[in-house]
Symmetry: D3
Subunit: 61 residues, 6 copies
């Protein structure tokens, strides 16, 4: 009963999220050997001033 | 010192979140045997195009 | 389709977790107005050297 | 820079996790249009007494 | 390869988040003995009606 | 009331986690302008076969 959380920068379209959910669900179902119906995915989006990498805001990189 | 994260579809009222926090805190305090003051709850809301189940966006189901 | 994550100190029994899942699910179902079958709960346990509060490990408090 | 968290029941082999990481990374890279090197995945495993669904521990279902 | 998630009340400025990312990254790098480039930080903000403590919404405390 | 979650590879000592909690709490308190007592930190450790980066298990990199 995999529960997936994906945090990513904002800017993808609904169509991209639709494809992402389809493809990630297939990937997990096939490799973890569970039905697709058991996979839940939460997508969270953030701005470049809410992500830090290497000590800097992504907005400043 | 339970820390609770709840991800759910948007659309509940403040009054519903108020009741949810009250009731979930009581439930955890009584079953985990800790003071209510020790329970923190974060509620996050998402749209139906940010939740995937069974390989589909909730918006498409 | 609420997804709940609970991080807490280790030490509760299976029976306590069973009651916690039952009670928290009821609380969310009744206040967020969704079927109990839609509620998933993940419980994670940690030691007192994996929790910090007020700048100190819980083990040192 | 997607960051992925997957909570699932214990019991998959290292080889299954290896395939899962490969496939999920490809799926996200291709649909979100980002390099594979930007994708991080955390896999967490739990027992059937740490997962609740529909008000019951998975162990009791 | 520490991945850090920080959930906090909204209201900090970009400059505060910039300093927070810089300082938290330094703190982790120096104590966990890893390069700063390996540290990723996600900052999520919430309203006072999305945080519960001691059974009450923060907005009501 | 910042709540911090840190996922990192296993292998740090309790003393390192103690210093990490102290330093991260100071960093957040000073930059977000909140009391140290309001900061909670959860540290989770994982093996190199539970972390994926760039499509590979960390164990294989």
């Amino acid at each position: 009963m995999p529960i997936v959380q994906i945090d990513m920068l904002e800017g993808r379209t609904v169509e991209q999220r639709r494809e992402l959910v389809k493809r990630v669900t297939e990937a997990i179902s096939e490799t973890a050997n569970c039905p697709q119906s058991a996979v839940s995915i939460i997508i969270r989006e953030m701005t470049t001033t809410h992500l830090g990498q290497g000590g800097k805001l992504r907005a400043d990189s």
